[in-house]
């Protein structure tokens, strides 16, 4: 076995995670190679030295902040959540409802034109009967309006 292969197996050899066959091969190599044997010894020492470093405990503020940040996250919806739709869905549904109500209540005379368009006589009668024209007649003959001073006099003052 070459030293290169031993290098490749070195960490697993130290871990004890090398397969039985490979470990035997490695042991046989170490019997004959002083350089690799020394390296195994030194790597083992390094590994032991690294064990001296203790874990770093999080500060007390860590847990408080962590809890606050998790609490600020949007929570998972419960099984009843589908009964209360999101705002966008609610808005769209309201709009649809309004549209349906409006089209149900609007005057249906427009629909009457479909099929048979009104004759000239019918159109004339319709215009004659429009309430706004009646109102115009009332307004045009409204007496109190006649007692107002003429607009030209106001301009001269």
């Amino acid at each position: 076995m070459s030293c290169n292969r031993m290098e490749h197996w070195m960490l697993e050899y130290l871990d004890g995670s090398l397969s039985e066959n490979h470990r035997r091969e490695a042991d046989a190599h170490l019997e004959t190679c002083d350089i690799c044997r020394l390296r195994v010894k030194e790597f083992r020492a390094v590994s032991g030295i690294l064990d001296e470093l203790p874990p770093v405990e999080p500060s007390a503020a860590f847990d408080i902040r962590m809890q606050a940040r998790i609490a600020a996250e949007p929570k998972r919806s419960s099984f009843l959540a589908w009964l209360s739709p999101g705002p966008r869905v609610a808005f769209a549904a309201s709009l649809l409802l309004l549209l349906v109500m409006w089209s149900a209540n609007r005057p249906t005379d427009v629909d009457d034109y479909i099929g048979h368009p009104p004759t000239v006589e019918e159109q004339f009668r319709m215009i004659k009967d429009l309430p706004v024209l009646e109102d115009y007649d009332v307004l045009a003959n409204f007496e109190p309006l006649g007692s107002l001073p003429p607009a030209a006099q106001a301009d001269q003052n």
């Binding site: 290098e7 490749h8 197996w9 070195m10 960490l11 697993e12 995670s17 390296r39 030194e42 790597f43 020492a45 390094v46 590994s47 032991g48 030295i49 690294l50 064990d51 001296e52 470093l53 203790p54 874990p55 770093v56 405990e57 999080p58 500060s59 503020a61 860590f62 847990d63 902040r65 962590m66 940040r69 998790i70 996250e73 998972r76 419960s78």
Partner: protein, 201 residues
């Protein structure tokens, strides 16, 4: 019997908040330790650890136990740490070309000297502290990918397959990465290798 990480995460997915608290409890120290050794700043390490947990929490609905939980957790942590280290190095290059950093604000962070200790204990503490400082600095000097590999292998005791996935390299590449890291550590820690400490024989 304690629930496995995957089971806890599946419970979190099902809406159980207390399972997330258990995962948090289980991994807060390993994660902060790992990130602290990576970024060398406690505040930043804690911020990053929180970011890792938040990402896990946010991904709970889509969680599928396709890999080990630790692989997923430390992959997020490693990516955040590597990005942070690179950003910090860039900032330091920009602001302190003629201002070398002489003080190490982290030294003494792990000091556990109790003022009520007896004198021989203080002496022992000082020796241990000096050794720890040397170890910390040796780890710090490693290139960040080697450093991550050593930390995940040595302190998190993840297997080679997991670490390779975390570092996005082949297992073979990981083994040579670790070998080079140990070679560098062997040189840096030579004085300690020659002088064994109390805890290792």
């Amino acid at each position: 019997m304690a629930r496995s990480d995957v089971q806890l995460m599946l419970d979190v997915k099902a809406g159980d908040e207390t399972s997330f608290a258990l995962l948090l409890q289980r991994y807060r120290t390993p994660l902060v330790s790992f990130l602290y050794r990576m970024v060398r700043n406690r505040e930043q390490a804690e911020d990053l650890a929180q970011e890792v947990f938040l990402r896990v929490y946010r991904a709970r609905k889509d969680y599928v136990p396709s890999a080990k939980f630790t692989t997923w957790l430390f992959r997020i942590a490693t990516n955040l740490a590597l990005n942070s280290v690179r950003d910090t190095r860039y900032q330091q290059m920009e602001i302190s070309i003629d201002q070398p950093v002489t003080a190490d604000p982290e030294d003494g962070d792990e000091r556990t000297v109790d003022v009520a200790d007896k004198r021989p204990d203080i002496e022992q503490h000082l020796v241990e502290e000096a050794r720890r400082k040397m170890i910390r600095h040796a780890i710090e000097k490693l290139p960040e990918k080697q450093r991550a590999a050593v930390l995940l292998h040595k302190y998190q005791e993840l297997d080679y397959g997991e670490i390779a996935k975390i570092l996005q390299c082949s297992e073979s590449a990981l083994k040579s990465l670790l070998f080079r890291a140990y070679e560098a550590l062997r040189v840096e820690l030579a004085p300690l290798v020659a002088l064994p400490g109390k805890q290792h024989g």
